[in-house]
């Protein structure tokens, strides 16, 4: 039985990834790290809430940034590195948690207690959810889904060896529209529980 569980959950926009993550975290009584909680963790004198909110999980602007060896002037990169350092530190301390996005599956790939999941969904399912959540028409919802997914993909692929959403980079990829969000969450909880029971 594992004493620690770290769940890295990637998601397509509108797939219900955050909702499912919330259910899983509650079920296991572990902390969920998303935009708000990450902001609270890494905010400091130099890194204001506003800056983190603006740069968190955002792809690098290639025309405004440059890299020299391991150094980069990009604020997006620096906020990402701070987030990754925070995740590594939490994992090393023995804390169990669920991280949404932020390359969690790559950053913590050497941790034996890590399980990585990617949630996707068919276009119609995602569209309905985004229209409902944002109160926008289909055209705007499609644009929103495309923009957010492009941003997440560029962010992920800049830091990771594996491609965003590629099944080979995760322990499990699942379409949430097949069972619906609740049933998908239940299935994943069972999957994670089996993983935790392993030595």
């Amino acid at each position: 039985m594992k004493n620690q569980i770290i769940i890295a959950l990637g998601r397509e926009h509108g797939s219900g990834g955050h909702y499912i993550a919330d259910m899983i975290a509650k079920e296991f009584g572990i902390k969920l790290y998303d935009k708000d909680s990450i902001e609270a963790e890494i905010v400091s004198d130099g890194y204001s809430e506003e800056l983190i909110r603006k740069m968190d999980e955002k792809p690098v602007n290639f025309f405004a940034s440059r890299r020299v060896g391991k150094y980069s002037n990009s604020l997006e990169v620096n906020v990402a590195e701070k987030t990754f350092a925070m995740l590594r530190s939490k994992a090393a301390s023995g804390e169990s948690f669920l991280i949404i996005g932020r390359c969690g599956e790559q950053v913590l790939k050497d941790n034996p207690n890590l399980i990585s999941i990617f949630i996707c969904g068919n276009q119609q399912f995602k569209l309905m959810r985004v229209m409902d959540k944002l109160g926008v028409d289909a055209e705007k919802a499609i644009e929103e889904i495309k923009a957010v997914d492009r941003s997440r993909k560029n962010y992920h692929n800049y830091y990771c060896e594996t491609k965003w959403g590629d099944a080979r980079g995760y322990d499990m990829t699942i379409k949430s529209d097949v069972l619906g969000c609740e049933e998908t969450a239940k299935m994943l909880i069972a999957y994670i529980r089996s993983f935790m029971e392993q030595e």
Binding site: Y47, S72, L75
Partner: protein, 454 residues
């Protein structure tokens, strides 16, 4: 014509890939260099001699490569630059490991009794001075690290100091032949000495340094004084001696540094080339550190050398040779001459300001390497002294890079070190202080070039 188009396409693709930062930049230039050798020289021009001239291996077997006043071949890999930079990298790695830079910074901080405004002035001066002899990346990295450490203890915002250090490192690098990579390339390509740079760019850099010292002190003094007053009582900062782990290694590394400075200053008299000086300082560093710290430290130093940058230079020189040998750079030279209608003052202004504006946004090393054959062609066609164009190119590329966080490698390293230390510096804050400062030094350089050479 077809060879020209292929060479331009390869070069533009290389530049775009460097900007897009998708791949390590040495892979980009090496790949681009390989394409130039195969496609441009091999297939389009069917010229084996162009390939051999570009690879320029014969340079190592010429006595002038090591000794005597020399001028590099007009196209191809500038091995003098590569060997010199490699040698200096080894020396700097040795100095860093021995704690030399940290000791120097902490000693100065102690000398000014950890008072913020004098510290700002001291670190600006130290940054400019060190950057005259060693690469500005190392200078900024060590200064920024100590500044962040002192800022934590003395409770001041380190960003103003780091911005000033970055600016002064680029400024100091412009003063000498070995300070900034563009100057090394200009110096070795056109056969200038250390003193040629001191007498030409060094003079205006000294004036600019005074202006910048006043400017940054004026910008930041209130903020720094306020922090000092708020902090109140005495501060406990790390003692300079804590930087030294091995006294023998420290002293011997410092002596090697002084020897390097002496060799560079006197190389016009001794007739030792910068390539030879690079080999001497590298060998001395490895020998003294081997004797004082053991074989392990020698291996560590060799591992610490930035081979990627050396490979970047090699690929870059080949790519530029593609443009030069196909005559593309002559076209650019002719274009500049037609725009200026042969007016030397206009040519100098174009070289200076185009170099500065370009260097503010793209890597100044490829730009300088590309522009050398251009200014050579202009000087030959106009029958003018190439010196003024060389100094305009040097000042433009070195000083223009100060304007933005991506303009020079030192800017990237300094802002990144600051961000890692908890103080991110965005474009807004960087440009707010450094754009006016860049305009000041560029205006001073323009006036200087006009008064002295035109």
């Amino acid at each position: 014509m077809f060879a020209q188009i292929v060479a331009i396409c390869i070069f533009l693709a290389m530049f775009m890939l460097i900007i897009l930062d998708k791949f390590e930049r040495h892979y980009v230039t090496l790949g681009s260099g390989a394409l130039v050798l195969v496609l441009v020289f091999g297939i389009c021009m069917r010229s084996m001699s162009a390939i051999w001239e570009t690879l320029n291996f014969g340079a190592f077997f010429e006595s002038s490569f090591w000794y005597g006043a020399s001028e590099e071949s007009t196209a191809g890999i500038n091995w003098s630059t590569v060997v010199f930079i490699a040698g200096m990298m080894i020396m700097v790695e040795g100095l860093g490991k021995a704690g030399f830079f940290r000791w120097l910074c902490l000693t100065l901080a102690k000398l000014v009794r950890y008072r913020t405004v004098p510290l700002l002035i001291c670190f600006m001066a130290l940054s400019a001075f060190l950057a005259m002899f060693i690469d500005s990346i190392t200078v900024v990295l060590f200064l920024a690290t100590v500044t962040l450490e002192l800022a934590q203890t003395m409770k001041f915002d380190p960003v103003p100091m780091i911005l000033s250090e970055i600016f002064c490192a680029n400024l100091g690098g412009a003063a000498t032949m070995c300070g900034d990579p563009p100057n090394i390339i200009i110096g070795t390509s056109l056969g200038y000495t250390f003193f040629d740079f001191i007498e030409n760019t060094g003079v205006v850099v000294a004036v600019c340094f005074v202006l910048i010292l006043i400017y940054f002190t004026f910008c930041f003094r209130k903020e720094l004084k306020r922090a000092e007053q708020a902090n109140g009582g005495p501060v406990t900062c790390p003692e300079p001696s804590t930087a030294i782990k091995n006294k023998a290694a420290f002293l011997s590394s410092a002596v090697v540094f002084l020897i390097a400075v002496a060799l560079l200053i006197t190389h016009a008299q001794t007739e030792l080339t910068v390539a030879f000086i690079g080999v001497i300082v590298a060998a001395l560093t490895l020998v003294v550190l081997g004797l004082t710290s053991g074989k392990k430290s020698v291996i560590e130093i060799m591992r610490g050398v930035d081979y990627q940058t050396l490979l970047f230079f090699i690929g870059l020189f080949v790519s530029v040779a593609g443009l030069e040998k196909t005559g593309v750079l002559n076209v650019i030279a002719n274009f500049i001459m037609s725009v200026s209608q042969g007016n030397i003052a206009v040519i100098v202004i174009i070289i200076l300001w185009v170099s500065a504006i370009t260097s503010a946004f793209v890597d100044n090393i490829p730009f300088a390497a590309t522009m050398i054959p251009v200014i050579r062609a202009i000087a030959a066609a106009e029958g003018m002294d190439i010196g003024v164009l060389a100094w305009a190119l040097s000042l433009g590329t070195d000083l223009g890079g100060n304007a933005t966080p991506i303009g020079a490698s030192a800017n990237v390293v300094g802002t990144s070190a600051s961000a890692k230390g908890g103080y991110p510096i965005g474009w807004g804050r960087y440009c707010k202080y450094c754009v006016p400062a860049t305009i000041i030094v560029m205006a001073a350089s323009t006036v200087y070039l006009f008064l002295r050479y035109l």
